[in-house]
C-alpha cells in the first residue's frame, strides 16, 4: 500500500512536471507577447525589447521555466498583469469560494445519486428504474447554462423567491445561504444526472451476479440482499468516478459562476483567458491539475479499501 502510494506520488509529480512545462511552453515561448501585453499596443519595439531584457524574458525558456517552478513551489506565482496584484493573493481567495460551493454541491449530489441509482438498479427495467433512467439522462443532457436559464426563469423571474446573482455579499439584499440555492441546484441537476446513471448501471450489473442469487436462495429477504450483499459491490466501480467529480467541481464550475456572478476560481480563469493574463492561467492550471491528481490517488486508495480482491 505504502509502496503503491509512493509510486503514485512519483507518477503525479512526473505528470505535473509535464503539464506545467507544456503550459509554460505554450504561453511563454514567445516572450515579446508578454511585454507587449503589459506595455500596450502603442509602445515602441525598443521599449518592448528593453522590458523583455529587464524582466529576464530573453533568457532560454528552460532556465525561466525552472525559475518559475522554483518560485511556484514556494507559493509565488508572479503577478497578474490584468488585476495588477500577486496571483497568490488573488487565486486562493477565489479557490476558497469555489471549494465552498463544490463542497455543498458534493454533499448533495453524492447521497442523492447513490440513493436513486441503487433504488433504480435493484429492479432492472421496473417502472422506477425506467423513470430514474429517463430523468437522469435528461438531467445530464441539459447544459448547465440552459438549466440555469430555466431555473432562473422559474424561481427568479416568475416566482421571485430566490436571488438571480450570488456575489456572496450580505449587502445584496438576500441572505448568503439563499445565494447558494440556485448555483447548487444547477450543478446538482447536471452532475447527478451523470452519477445516477453510473451507480445504476453498476447496481444492475451486480444484481445479475450469481452471488446475489446465492444470497437470496439462502433465505435472505430482497431488502437484506440489497443492503448486505449488493450495496458494497455496487459502489466499487462508481467510487472512483464519484471522487473524480471533485475535479469537475473545482474547474468546471465556471459556467455556474458566470451565470450567477459568483466570485469563484472558474470565473477567474475565464477572465484571465479573455485578458490573456498568463500568470493567472498558469497558476490556475497547476492547481487544477494537482487537484485532479490528488483525487485520482485517493480514488485508487479507496478502491483498494472497498474491494478486497485488489491488493498491491
Amino acid at each position: 500500500m505504502l509502496r503503491y502510494s509512493a509510486k503514485q506520488l512519483l507518477n503525479m509529480a512526473l505528470t505535473l512536471f509535464a503539464v506545467s512545462f507544456l503550459v509554460f511552453a505554450l504561453n511563454e515561448l514567445s516572450p515579446g507577447d508578454v511585454t507587449r501585453k503589459i506595455l500596450g499596443p502603442y509602445a515602441s519595439q525598443s521599449q518592448v525589447d528593453h522590458l523583455t531584457r529587464e524582466m529576464g524574458l530573453d533568457r532560454p525558456a528552460i532556465v525561466r521555466y525552472f525559475e518559475y517552478m522554483g518560485r511556484a513551489l514556494t507559493g509565488d506565482f508572479g503577478d497578474s498583469i490584468y488585476y495588477r496584484q500577486p496571483v497568490s493573493t488573488l487565486i486562493w481567495d477565489r479557490l476558497g469560494n469555489t471549494l465552498l460551493l463544490a463542497a455543498i454541491s458534493f454533499a448533495v449530489i453524492v447521497p442523492l445519486s447513490v440513493l436513486l441509482g441503487v433504488l433504480a438498479g435493484m429492479r432492472e427495467r421496473g417502472w422506477f428504474d425506467r423513470a430514474v433512467s429517463v430523468f437522469s439522462s435528461m438531467c445530464a443532457s441539459i447544459p448547465e447554462f440552459a438549466m440555469g436559464v430555466f431555473l432562473l426563469g422559474i424561481f427568479v423571474v416568475w416566482l421571485g423567491v430566490l436571488p438571480g446573482t450570488s456575489p456572496l455579499r450580505a449587502d445584496s439584499g438576500w441572505a448568503i445561504w439563499m445565494q447558494f440555492v440556485l448555483p447548487v441546484l444547477v450543478v446538482t441537476f447536471y452532475d447527478a444526472g451523470y452519477l445516477i446513471a453510473m451507480v445504476r448501471s453498476s447496481m444492475v450489473e451486480v444484481m445479475r451476479q450469481p452471488y446475489i442469487r446465492t444470497a437470496l436462495l439462502k433465505g435472505n429477504s430482497f431488502r437484506n440482499v440489497v443492503a448486505k450483499h449488493a450495496l458494497r459491490n455496487a459502489l466499487i466501480t462508481p467510487f472512483t468516478v464519484i471522487l473524480l467529480q471533485l475535479n469537475y467541481l473545482v474547474s468546471g464550475l465556471v459556467v455556474v459562476e458566470t451565470l450567477f456572478a459568483y466570485p469563484g476560481f472558474g470565473r477567474l480563469m475565464l477572465e484571465a483567458a479573455l485578458a490573456k493574463d498568463i500568470a493567472v492561467l498558469e497558476a490556475g492550471t497547476l492547481i487544477a491539475v494537482s487537484v485532479t491528481m490528488l483525487t485520482q490517488l485517493f480514488g485508487d486508495l479507496g478502491y483498494m479499501a472497498l474491494d478486497p480482491r485488489i491488493r498491491v
Binding site: 443532457s141 447554462f145 426563469g153 458566470t258 487544477a288
Partner: protein
C-alpha cells in the same frame, strides 16, 4: 463538463450478435429493431433526425435571414404569426437563428467527434495490440492530456490562439481522443487474445490487417454508442464556449452565443434565452437517448 469514460467490461464486447448489419439491408433491419425495441432510442433518433434535416435544408426552411437586424421589431419581440418564436434584442428572427445555429452545431460537433474517433481508434488499437513501450507512451501522453481539466484546456488554447471553429474542433479532438483510445485499447486487449486473432496470426496476416480487419469491426458497438454520447457532450461543450463568450465569433448564429447575448435581458424578455436553451437541450437529449437505445439494443442481442 463531465466526461463519460465507460470502460468496456471484458466479455461484453462480442455482444453485437446481429452482424448482418454489415449489409445495407441488415442495417435497415437493425434500425427497425431498435425502433421497435427501445422507445427511448426512437425518440432520440427522431429528435436528432429533425435537427439534422433542418440544418441541411436551412436555406429553404428558415423563414428569414438569421443575421438581418430589424430594430422596429424590438417593440414587440414576442412570438407572433410572423415570427413564430419571436425576435431577439436586435430584432433578428429567433427561429431562423435556431435553424442556422443547428447547421453550425451539427457541422462542428460531428467533425470534432469524428476527428477524435479516428485519432483515438488508431492510437487505441496500436497501444492495445502492440503493448509494451508503445502502449506505455501512448497512454502516458493521453493521461497527461486528461489531467488537464477540459475547460481549462480550452481556455489556454483560446487565450493563445483565439476562438475559431478550427480551434474548437482541435481542442475537442485532442481532449476526447485519449478517452476513445482508452475504450478501444480495452476492447483490443480483450479481443487480441481471442482465438480468431491467433488464427489470423497463424496464417501470417500483418499487424495492421489484424488491427483493422479482425479487431476493429468487433469494437464498433461500443464505438457507435460512444459516438452519440460524445456528440451530445460536444454539443454541450460548444454551447458552453458560446455562453462564456469564447465560442464561435459573431455574427455566426450559435445557440450558446444566443443565450449569452440575451442573458442580461432575461428579466425583460425571457423567451430570448429560454428558447435557444431549449433547442440545445433537445439536441443533446436526442443524442443521449439514441445512445441509450443503441446500448440497450446491443446488450439484448
Amino acid at each position: 463538463m463531465t466526461e463519460i469514460i465507460h470502460d468496456v467490461p471484458a466479455g461484453r464486447v462480442g455482444v453485437i450478435r446481429d452482424s448482418a448489419q454489415s449489409t445495407p439491408a441488415g442495417l435497415f433491419r437493425r434500425i427497425y429493431d431498435i425502433l421497435t425495441r427501445s422507445p427511448i432510442g426512437t425518440i432520440g433518433g427522431a429528435i436528432l433526425l429533425t435537427w439534422t434535416l433542418l440544418a441541411i435544408f436551412a436555406p429553404w426552411v428558415a423563414p428569414y435571414s438569421p443575421t438581418k437586424i430589424d430594430p422596429e421589431l424590438i417593440a414587440d419581440p414576442y412570438p407572433s404569426a410572423q415570427h413564430w418564436l419571436g425576435v431577439d434584442h436586435l430584432g433578428r428572427d429567433i427561429l431562423s437563428r435556431l435553424i442556422w445555429g443547428a447547421r453550425t452545431v451539427l457541422t462542428v460537433a460531428p467533425t470534432a467527434v469524428l476527428g477524435a474517433v479516428i485519432l483515438g481508434t488508431f492510437l487505441g488499437l496500436l497501444a492495445g495490440y502492440r503493448g509494451g513501450i508503445v502502449d506505455a507512451i501512448i497512454m502516458r501522453v493521453g493521461d497527461t492530456l486528461l489531467a488537464f481539466p477540459k475547460i481549462i484546456l480550452y481556455l489556454i488554447i483560446i487565450a493563445k490562439f483565439g476562438a475559431s471553429a478550427f480551434n474548437i474542433i482541435a481542442v475537442i479532438t485532442l481532449s476526447s481522443a485519449p478517452i476513445i483510445a482508452r475504450i478501444v485499447r480495452g476492447v483490443t486487449l480483450d479481443i487480441k487474445n481471442r482465438d480468431y486473432v491467433a488464427a489470423a496470426r497463424m496464417r501470417g496476416e500483418s499487424a495492421l490487417f489484424i488491427m483493422f480487419v479482425e479487431i476493429l469491426p468487433n469494437a464498433r458497438g461500443p464505438l457507435i454508442v460512444d459516438f452519440f454520447l460524445r456528440l451530445g457532450y460536444t454539443t454541450i461543450a460548444i454551447g458552453v464556449l458560446g455562453f462564456l463568450g469564447v465560442g464561435l465569433p459573431p455574427p455566426t448564429p450559435d445557440w450558446g452565443g444566443m443565450v449569452k447575448e440575451a442573458y442580461g435581458m432575461i428579466f425583460v424578455w425571457p423567451h430570448m434565452t429560454i428558447i435557444p436553451s431549449l433547442a440545445i437541450s433537445s439536441l443533446v437529449i436526442g443524442a443521449n437517448f439514441l445512445a441509450t437505445g443503441l446500448r440497450e439494443a446491443s446488450l439484448d442481442g
